[in-house]
């Protein structure tokens, strides 16, 4: 009786092992750069419409393959958030055994939820093809299961008072909220939140952090990451040092000029040229004010 039972158990375990093997071996490993161009960006294009070729994404992907802590500081519209989503999707694709937890942080939890809703749409066709079953009806939470493996990615806001969750991957996507930077204390609070509440909750020494964003004010989270030797930081302003457009396929110089006229000089310098403003500088630059004052005839 005991030997029959032992045999049944061993057969069951062997079957389970074969099932697991089948589930994972169907998905051959793919470096992040390849994954982006072959699988992820086509899925994004199905939701967002046709995408313009973005060579810088591949360079960023290579950095992410080699480093655990990466900060990508780039101009608005450079697809840095799309890359952050791709990193989460890539982990989902390659995760084979046990539980994997990711947290997607933005300045507010609503913004993080928006990002994950979009990511879930991108994954609608991809995740089942990788053998994952969607285990939640929540549209802004990722929870996938397959034999022997669980994957979750939850949204969170840097403004939340609660403690963070332990995780294997921490994505920080535009965590500085310009509307909340009302004082130096607000800036310090955001930074302290990251240092004391969020980063200590990385699960183990293989856990990763990806920070993407645009600098807003000197001394904010982005500036901290840039100064932190643990982070590998890369910067991509819309106009490079040699005066060329960083992404001419989408933002040629004339388009950037149009954007500058639309958003104004100061915003353009911050959002597109990545020049953070000093907290103590005047909000209205003196030359702008001088030019706006009527002197004699209009």
């Amino acid at each position: 009786m005991a030997s029959v039972l032992r045999r049944s158990i061993s057969e069951l375990l062997a079957e389970l092992g074969a099932l697991e093997k089948r589930a994972t071996s169907d998905v051959p490993p793919l470096p992040l750069g390849e994954f982006l161009s072959r699988e992820f960006l086509p899925a994004v294009a199905q939701v967002e419409g046709e995408l313009v070729e973005a060579p810088h994404l591949r360079a960023w992907a290579e950095l992410l393959e080699c480093h655990r802590f990466v900060a990508i500081i780039a101009f608005r519209g450079s697809l840095k958030s799309t890359l952050a989503k791709a990193v989460v999707a890539h982990v989902l694709r390659s995760h084979a055994r046990g539980a994997y937890d990711a947290v997607y942080y933005s300045a507010t939890v609503d913004l993080a939820r928006w990002h994950l809703r979009r990511l879930k749409l991108y994954l609608e066709g991809l995740a089942p093809a990788w053998g994952w079953r969607d285990a939640t009806a929540g549209e802004a939470v990722l929870r996938y299961e397959r034999p022997g493996a669980i994957f979750s990615c939850e949204p969170a806001g840097l403004d939340q008072a609660s403690r963070g969750r332990r995780c294997n991957l921490l994505v920080l996507d535009d965590v500085s909220d310009p509307k909340k930077l009302a004082s130096m204390a607000d800036i310090d609070r955001a930074l302290e939140s990251l240092q004391r509440r969020i980063l200590p909750l990385l699960k183990d020494k293989s856990a990763r952090v990806l920070l993407v964003g645009t600098p807003l004010i000197e001394g904010d989270v982005i500036a901290w990451a840039e100064k932190n030797p643990e982070f590998l930081t890369t910067r991509l302003p819309a106009i490079l040092a040699d005066g060329q457009a960083a992404w001419p396929q989408k933002y040629p110089l004339e388009e950037l000029e149009r954007i500058k006229r639309l958003v104004g000089e100061k915003s353009f310098r911050a959002e597109y040229l990545l020049h953070a403003v000093a907290p103590a500088d005047t909000f209205i630059p003196p030359d702008v004010l001088e030019a706006a004052i009527l002197r004699g005839e209009p």
Partner: protein, 200 residues
């Protein structure tokens, strides 16, 4: 003490009294103060007529009044402001900073005209309004009077939208101009004609 700088010379109505009666809207912003900091009233007018069909927020504006009211009782301030704004026959809107509620009692007593609208500023709304003010100045859509005190006041405000306490001014003009510009975004359901006595 009241210091008024009222100058319509940059407006198309200059030298043409008949056009003063045209339907030019008047938009005002008021930063309320009395003891430590003064009140400041900024009045701006569009350069186009109301019936130009151009959406209000896309118009170009010129400041026609900058009024400082130091240590004046609120009732006196309201009287002066009403006088300043009693020109022309176009519609008008005044937004005042209601964050600390200085004028609540006067509103309850019916002493404020109906077209005065109290705005409670939050960190979020203040940043949005400030960005709109900066953009209007950068794009040359808002021209300001050459009031040195106003200029000093505007330059007191830093990137965190805080004004230094050390100077004589405290960013009052920043708030009033920001609110005046915000008032231009207001859309009346029915275009009203201002008639003194009927509206306040």
């Amino acid at each position: 003490m009241i210091a008024k700088l009222i100058d319509w010379s940059a407006h198309p109505t200059k030298g043409n009294p008949e056009r003063l009666l045209s339907r030019y809207s008047l938009y005002a912003g008021l930063d309320v103060g009395r003891f430590v900091h003064p009140s400041h009233l900024a009045v701006i007018v569009p350069l186009e007529r109301d019936d130009s069909g151009v959406p209000a927020h896309k118009r170009h504006f010129v400041q026609v009044a900058s009024v400082w009211l130091d240590d004046e009782p609120y009732v006196e301030q309201i009287k002066v402001i009403k006088e300043v704004l009693a020109v022309g026959v176009g519609s008008r809107k005044l937004y005042y900073d209601n964050t600390r509620g200085e004028l609540v009692a006067l509103r309850e007593q019916g002493l404020l005209p109906s077209w005065w609208c109290g705005i409670t500023l939050t960190a979020e709304s203040k940043m949005q309004m400030a960005q709109r003010l900066l953009l209007a100045l950068e794009q040359g859509r808002l021209k300001l009077l050459p009031d040195e005190r106003q200029k000093r006041s505007l330059l007191m405000v830093n990137n965190l939208l805080k004004a230094e306490e050390s100077g004589g001014e405290h960013g009052e003009a920043f708030t009033s101009l920001m609110l005046a510009l915000e008032a231009t975004r207001w859309k009346p359901l029915v275009e009203s004609v201002y008639i003194e006595g009927l509206y306040g």
